[in-house]
């Protein structure tokens, strides 16, 4: 439950005065607009400043990722998954590796699973930190919170770089394990960062969480009802902000998440403020998970000895593998026909499906509210358009 300072009243459609009940105005927000987080367009119909219709337009970054996946080998698709949601390449890698491992019945050593959890939770910290910054940027707090967020994000990216060789395009997971092992120095650095992250969150929250302007801008704006959220397939923090307890780390308990003690934060209003707050609370839980993972990380191999890098041909069959990505359920659906390339390679993009309710959230609000509602949904166009 989230305690908030001001009372939230939910979305309220403003009454249109007869004097102004004239022409509707169509505005095309995007594709080149700083608030759309990439090349995304919202075709907005306005009555005065009130949104009466909003149609999202996709495809500006479409490169038919799925066709590429069907024309390359299983391994060859791994670096392309980095480029889906380019903030969270580690979790994309894991989701894809998980789906392929399901497809091929490939076991993963214990240390690799722990390493995956460490990297996934670092990614969650990274993504939610970015989101907190972007959301504040969208709501008009130009620069300062975003820069504080980016300062911390860069430390996580440095960790990724020293482990995988690249800040964002990590390409780190392999079918049956991870590519390289984490050295004791790396683990020490990661632990140091985790230990200090709580202090950063405290500072960030002092900066913004209690800010009256932020509350006025976000509370009661873009309220999502739990029924609609479930029906529309909303996942991730956006779903949990409505109070629905559905976290794949608990439900599927993939990897070794069942061994970790952590709570799933839930909101109770489903408004933009709750969506912000859920992310902050999830970061605190991620820190808990990371501490436990560093404590319990076992020694051992990071790659299954029977795993094949080249000439990987899963038996005929299909598999749908999904994990709790920072933005929601990221899943991969694969069909193998016994050849080196998948017959069908499908990505279930959380960002795209979370946008299903964008119009519902924005109706009756103003253009400026649409910007922060979009910001709180947390999209990356690399994944929306694929």
């Amino acid at each position: 439950m989230i305690a908030s300072g001001l009372q939230t009243t939910g979305a309220h459609v403003r009454e249109v005065h007869d004097d102004f009940h004239g022409d509707l105005l169509e505005v095309s927000m995007g594709p080149h607009h700083p608030s759309t987080h990439g090349v995304f367009r919202m075709q907005v119909t306005l009555d005065g400043e009130t949104i009466v219709k909003l149609k999202p337009v996709f495809g500006y970054l479409h490169r038919n990722h799925e066709k590429l996946g069907e024309n390359t080998s299983y391994l060859g698709s791994m670096p392309y998954t980095d480029r889906l949601d380019y903030l969270n390449s580690m979790t994309n890698n894991w989701a894809y590796a998980l789906a392929v491992e399901k497809l091929a019945g490939q076991p993963v050593p214990e240390r690799a699973e722990y390493l995956r959890i460490i990297l996934a939770e670092l990614t969650r910290l990274l993504n939610h930190t970015c989101l907190a910054g972007f959301l504040l940027q969208d709501s008009g707090a130009s620069g300062t919170p975003l820069m504080y967020a980016f300062r911390e994000r860069e430390k996580i990216l440095d960790l990724f770089e020293s482990l995988s060789g690249s800040r964002m395009m990590c390409n780190f997971q392999r079918f049956g394990g991870c590519r390289t092992d984490a050295s004791p120095e790396w683990l020490a650095a990661a632990k140091k960062l985790t230990d200090g992250y709580g202090a950063f969150l405290d500072e960030y929250e002092r900066l913004i969480t209690g800010n009256e302007i932020l509350m006025a801008r976000t509370q009661g704006v873009g309220v999502l009802k739990p029924d609609l959220a479930i029906s529309a397939g909303i996942t991730g923090p956006m779903l949990r902000a409505t109070g629905v307890d559905y976290d794949l780390r608990k439900v599927d308990a993939y990897g070794f998440y069942s061994r970790f003690a952590f709570r799933v934060p839930l909101g109770d209003h489903g408004d933009t403020y709750d969506r912000y707050m859920i992310r902050v609370l999830e970061m605190r839980e991620s820190i808990e998970i990371l501490q436990q993972a560093f404590r319990d990380l076992p020694a051992g191999p990071i790659m299954d000895p029977k795993a094949k890098l080249r000439g990987f041909r899963p038996k005929t069959g299909e598999a749908y593998g999904r994990i709790e990505g920072p933005k929601g359920e990221i899943g991969f659906y694969l069909i193998s026909d016994g050849t080196p390339n998948p017959y069908r390679y499908r990505v279930r993009p959380p960002s795209l499906i979370n946008l299903t309710v964008l119009e519902d959230l924005c109706l009756g609000h103003t253009v400026a509210d649409a910007v922060i509602i979009l910001g709180s949904i947390d999209i990356v166009l690399g994944e929306v358009d694929r």
Partner: protein, 199 residues
């Protein structure tokens, strides 16, 4: 949760006229699916959503598959239950053929989550969903003709010059410059030796 076979038997008892068969997944994942005939599909979907033992309130993934060998297009729905936290139940619907009878009932009235994903299947595979509220192309532009995810899709001749074409790109390059075999384009070998030749 009941097995796929038990679920099929229960559905057949509830919908006597429907054709429902289990598609076995031979792989290690063993996620078996139910192949439904299109006409009662929406009623079955509503039943699956509202049945107290199943409560499949969450449609996670919707995707198309092109089967030129079977001569049909297929759409796959992965259903989970957020209320009871189980799943997946996988539904498959098949079109009659790949050319003119490509209509299937939309499940968007049952699960809003299908809205964009069915649009995507329509866009990339050309399956027409009846009673979809807003069936337009989603990723390709409206004037685009073909359906790119079909296995027999031929991409347009929009070859861009590359210094070292090989494989499929070289074939394309040769088609693209049939008359004038520009050195470095038609012949990949000395590409680096003739840097000035650009279209």
């Amino acid at each position: 949760m009941e097995t796929t076979d038990q679920l099929r038997d229960r559905l057949l008892a509830r919908f006597p006229g429907a054709e429902i068969s289990v598609v076995t997944n031979p792989g290690p994942a063993a996620q078996h699916s139910l192949l439904l005939s299109p006409s009662p599909a929406r009623d079955i979907a509503v039943f699956l959503r509202d049945d107290p033992a199943l409560r499949l309130d969450y449609c996670s993934n919707v995707t198309g598959i092109d089967w030129p060998t079977l001569g049909c297009l297929e759409v796959v729905y992965h259903l989970y239950s957020m209320a009871l936290k189980h799943g997946p139940v996988i539904l498959r619907l098949r079109t009659t053929n790949r050319t003119d009878a490509v209509t299937l009932p939309s499940l968007t009235p049952v699960w809003r989550a299908c809205e964009f994903q069915e649009r995507e299947v329509f866009d990339l595979y050309g399956i027409v969903f009846t009673e979809h509220p807003d069936l337009r192309r989603i990723l390709m532009w409206d004037e685009f003709k073909d359906h790119p995810m079909r296995k027999d899709y031929v991409e347009p001749d929009d070859y861009e010059w590359e210094p070292t074409p090989h494989g499929g790109v070289l074939e394309k390059a040769k088609r693209h410059y049939p008359a004038a075999p520009v050195a470095g384009v038609a012949d990949p070998g000395p590409a680096s030796a003739s840097p000035a030749t650009k279209p």
